[in-house]
Symmetry: C2
Subunit: 337 residues, 2 copies
Amino acid sequence: MYRIAVDVMSGEKNPAELITGALQALKEEPEIELTLIGGYDIISEELAKTDSDSKRLKIENADQIINMDESPIKALRKKKNATVNVGAKLLKENKIDAFISPGNTGSVMAAGLLRVGRIKGVSRPPIAIQFPAVNGSTLVLDNGANTDCSPENLRQFALMGQLYAENVMKVENPRVALLNIGEEKSKGNNLSKESFKLLNSDTRIKNFIGNVEGRDIFSDSVDVVVTDGFVGNVVLKTTEGAASFFLDLLRESFQTNLRSKLAALLLKPYLKKVLKKIDYRQYGGAPLLGVKGVVIISHGSSDGTAIYNAVKTAKNTVKEDIVSLIKSELEKNEELE
Amino acid sequence: MYRIAVDVMSGEKNPAELITGALQALKEEPEIELTLIGGYDIISEELAKTDSDSKRLKIENADQIINMDESPIKALRKKKNATVNVGAKLLKENKIDAFISPGNTGSVMAAGLLRVGRIKGVSRPPIAIQFPAVNGSTLVLDNGANTDCSPENLRQFALMGQLYAENVMKVENPRVALLNIGEEKSKGNNLSKESFKLLNSDTRIKNFIGNVEGRDIFSDSVDVVVTDGFVGNVVLKTTEGAASFFLDLLRESFQTNLRSKLAALLLKPYLKKVLKKIDYRQYGGAPLLGVKGVVIISHGSSDGTAIYNAVKTAKNTVKEDIVSLIKSELEKNEELE
């Protein structure tokens, strides 16, 4: 059984919606044991409204939440019974295999780092996000956990990204690249020049294809893109901004007059497919790789669909035992040092 | 008169197309004197096909071009009669007021820096690009001229960006911000934390609104966004990539069947407006700010429309005398140091 816990309290959407998504996944996945983390009364009240009395379902009481604007580390210390503390503790004590939270990103990350703990040989656990791309998706890491990185950090991101792409995303011989501002190896800033050398010389990165640019993320030319958390987070937010700007322009153009409204109506089913393809909810969340357990950071605005998908992502990540794979690959690092 | 020179030879499109765009601008702007730079025979042959015998039109012979894959500095030294060398020399000798080139970006930049020269008090001239945004555009700088920057570099970018937004883009009291991965001042990497302090304490940056994120570039919340050239270039390419990915998905969805094709046909005029709004050609090119003359770097794939717009941008930039404005503001820097 895959034991997955979901923090249904600290997201922006109401618990009922997140519970519905999680229960849907439980229903479809017979090999899952689900723990819902949050206020006991709130959750049991919601469960009473549903017909789920699955023996594979538990509630774990956590009556505090860390707000989006709180300082993660401080709040983590102060609010002992916050959802993220409770989830991280269960993971640490091996009572669950995966913990999903749509709460304050910094607090989920800090709980992963401080309560669950780093795998030996991993200096800085990165957040790995799947970006939509032609014919699939591209894994970009780090997306904001580590703002200032060393070439060695980036090498570790590459190794972990490779393992995740191969085993969870099921990409054969994944192409790993460094995010840069040109393809030539002499390009970039000091960090990228040094990192290029390191990644290029590490034979454990089996299919290192060199430098790629921002636009390649959405193409079919690369599977894993490595960068520091500052740049990765800028890429993420720029993509979100560009997509929503473009969608707004489209929507506005559809509303011009009767003719445009009619055309938009005719196009609706096809546009839905386009939207689905770029919907961040399709993966439900991003794993914090390199900690001793599966921690999935979901978007604060996650709804039932996002949580449903996050549970499925968590299941696959546990099933492929990414934690052990990273352990056995990255612990070699420690020996090398 | 505003004396503007266009390198019509070193872009990816053929000279005829670029010449047509430049001539169109000449026709519409009576205060322009236009110099076409490139092979004399090629240009005069093209001009013979047109009816332009304007007294405000000159040809300046330059029979070498620097290819897109050449090393800029080396090529600049070796090819004395390359279009970018010729253009930069004319600017340096005050025979023209602005130079536009769609050639190898590194070579245009290097010609600006080495041949035209930096304004006193400007350590690192940045490339400033206008991104499309709700209700107008957002100026982002640097977009790739300087990969590793200091907080002082970013402060100078802010001052130059403010002057450009105010005087050329005609934005009243432009809102200047630092690109970061969160709004709080404690956010970001070492560079952004230090830069925040510097920008925040510089009273010459009249309307510093703090940190913004990648998504804000496309919103109506900021006018000038300051970042280092590595991050700026990643933002630019990510935006290009996301936009073209999204457009491809749309086009594909339009082609699904007869119904979708019909709807797309009906929508065409409205979609055109959307495309126009995100068309990089609308500004025609990006100024290299902080050199002793107006240097506009156009996209390698610039066509007639892009060059037409670049000439107009160049004219406005010369008209507002951005070079003198930067001189009088930034030379104070030198005194401070």
